[in-house]
């Protein structure tokens, strides 16, 4: 197996007495879309800053694209494009001027930079707005401009912190398309998010963060079956007394919980027919029954419920 493009070993960051990141181990393979998931304050941004060499780890080490971010930050930053949480640009300058500044800081020649900027702006469909001051850009346009910056830099790795924060559904969708197309071109993408469903749709692998530690790492589908127990979730809308017990007695059902207007049933197989029968036999009124998709959100809640119970 080839050397992973990002590797962190026992990375720890302490702010005073508070432990922001606690002994974090992480590997990301080249060409992967890797998601860091977790609630705000779980240590995702701190981890990212340590990988970029923008914050010094208290202990532990990291290797990014073959370089140590602590000792060779310039080499790392030359190969990594970073889009911070709620990215900002110089409002009085145009999109193009903002990118020109970044290009100059990367040491590009002006003519070379202009060609790359043009191409990058076309990719993110900002070629028409590129000459206007960033002041008038919408949130989605700023985020696309940040992606253009990463493209212009020719980065091998893109680190995106909360990339869809504050975007409307349409822009989010477009943004995810953009991320997928970047992956197809061979870019490695590390993204952090607290929106678990979003990550589920684009990430190859994810790491679930909880209080500075990684609780779970793995492929999305593996996590789903591991934590939820190969589960099928069913949403049942029904009225009647004692239905929860009746459903619970159906063979294969592992868990029944109250939900709006009915129940949420988890089972090892597709038990819709059996559940429907049990409701009718118990004298309940069955209004609807449908198969729901297991989501990372459930994995997350379930897993950390377990963690908390064990603690």
């Amino acid at each position: 197996m080839s050397e992973p493009i990002i590797r962190a070993e026992a990375l720890t960051k302490r702010y005073g007495s508070a432990l922001a990141v606690d002994g974090l181990d992480l590997t990301v393979e080249a060409g992967e879309v890797f998601g860091l998931l977790g609630p705000n304050g779980a240590g995702k941004t701190t981890t990212i800053l340590m990988l970029l060499g923008l914050t010094e780890p208290t202990s532990g080490r990291a290797v990014v694209a073959g370089f140590d971010p602590l000792r060779q930050p310039l080499e790392v930053k030359r190969r990594v494009g970073y889009m911070p949480d709620s990215v900002g640009f110089y409002d009085h300058l145009s999109g193009i001027a903002n990118l020109r500044y970044s290009a100059a800081l990367c040491g590009m020649k002006p003519a070379d930079a202009d060609a790359r900027i043009d191409a990058a702006l076309k990719r993110v469909r900002l070629e028409a707005a590129g000459g206007r001051p960033v002041r008038g850009y919408s949130r989605g346009m700023r985020q696309r401009l940040a992606i253009a910056e990463i493209l212009m830099k020719g980065a091998a790795i893109a680190i995106l912190d909360e990339p869809t924060g504050g975007l409307d559904p349409q822009s989010t969708h477009e943004f995810l398309e953009l991320i997928r197309s970047l992956q197809r071109e061979g870019m490695t993408i590390l993204l952090s998010s607290h929106l678990l469903d979003l990550v589920q749709s684009v990430c190859d692998r994810v790491a679930l963060f909880h209080r500075g530690r990684i609780g779970l790492t793995g492929r999305v589908d593996t996590l789903l079956s591991d934590v939820l127990g190969g589960s099928h979730a069913i949403r049942v809308e029904a009225r009647g007394a004692g239905l929860a017990e009746a459903i619970g007695r159906v063979a294969g059902v592992t868990r029944v919980s109250e939900a709006a207007n009915g129940f949420r049933v988890e089972a090892s197989g597709d038990v819709r027919a059996a559940v429907a029968r049990s409701i009718v036999e118990a004298g309940g009124a069955l209004l609807s029954i449908e198969a729901g998709h297991a989501s990372l959100e459930e994995v997350y809640t379930r897993y950390f419920e377990g963690v908390r119970d064990a603690a």
Binding site: K77, Y90, C106, G107
Partner: protein
Amino acid sequence: MRRDGFALAGAGVVMMKELADNLSSVRMRLLEGLVFVAGAGAVYATIGEVRSVVSEDPFVFLRLFTTPKAPLPSFVAFLGFLIPIVAIALGFDSVNSEFNHRTMSRLLAQPIYRDALLFGKFLAGLATLAITLTALWLFVIGLGVLLLGLPPSGEEVLRGFAFLLAAIAYSGVWLALALLFSVVFRSAATAALAALSVWLLFAFFWSMLVSLIAPIVAPADPDNVMSLLHNANVTEALSRLSPNTLFAETALAALNPSTRSLGVVLSSQLEGAISAPLPFAQSVALIWPQVTGLVAAAIGLFTIAYIAFQRQEVRA
């Protein structure tokens, strides 16, 4: 710990960008307007006074800078007030605005060290001030040539130039102070107020404070000559802690060749002295400690800002 790569790589790029921002900003236009109007007003008002002594003074041109005409202060006194304001206005939001506009982390994710950012910003501010002050200086000299109808002598130009360099050093002190506050305070308004309070302290209250503190540190006994001398020395040392004092003394010695000393002079020391203007080299020797003090203050303040900035967390 050693880090690879040149610490100041990219400083030139940062400087050019900041310089362009400074020179094109509305804020700078307003300040330039203010400085030019004030300077031109002071010089224009002085012309009448200066014309009356044209035949008596070999350094009449320098009088343009130093002669006050009530109710206006002299051009030099105007600069003593206005330079700090311009420098503070340029520097008070230079670092914290990067945080407030959320550009800091994106900027530092480019292949540069933080050193380059701070150096670039400071040098851009200093270059802006130097350009403004040089333009103003040339403007005043041009105005003098037109209104007086005579060109400055070589020595007058040299003395004027020494004064210009001192003015740039003085502006550097205030720029470094503003930069320091822009690093320390995340809110631009707080940084501006802090820098302006320091300016207010030195511009208006320092002489009062000195006259309060000096008698406590070194009581002056009217019957004891040595205690009087000691008091005078302490007063002088305290007042020289203010960059405004250093600048005023430099201007006095550079632009007024008859100034022989900036400190306490005893009458015995003046015995047998020929009352003639000092040669330029001697005036330079006289102001050397003052100018060195100004440059040292600027470097000291910049260093504190630099250390504070290096230790700051990038995340807002």
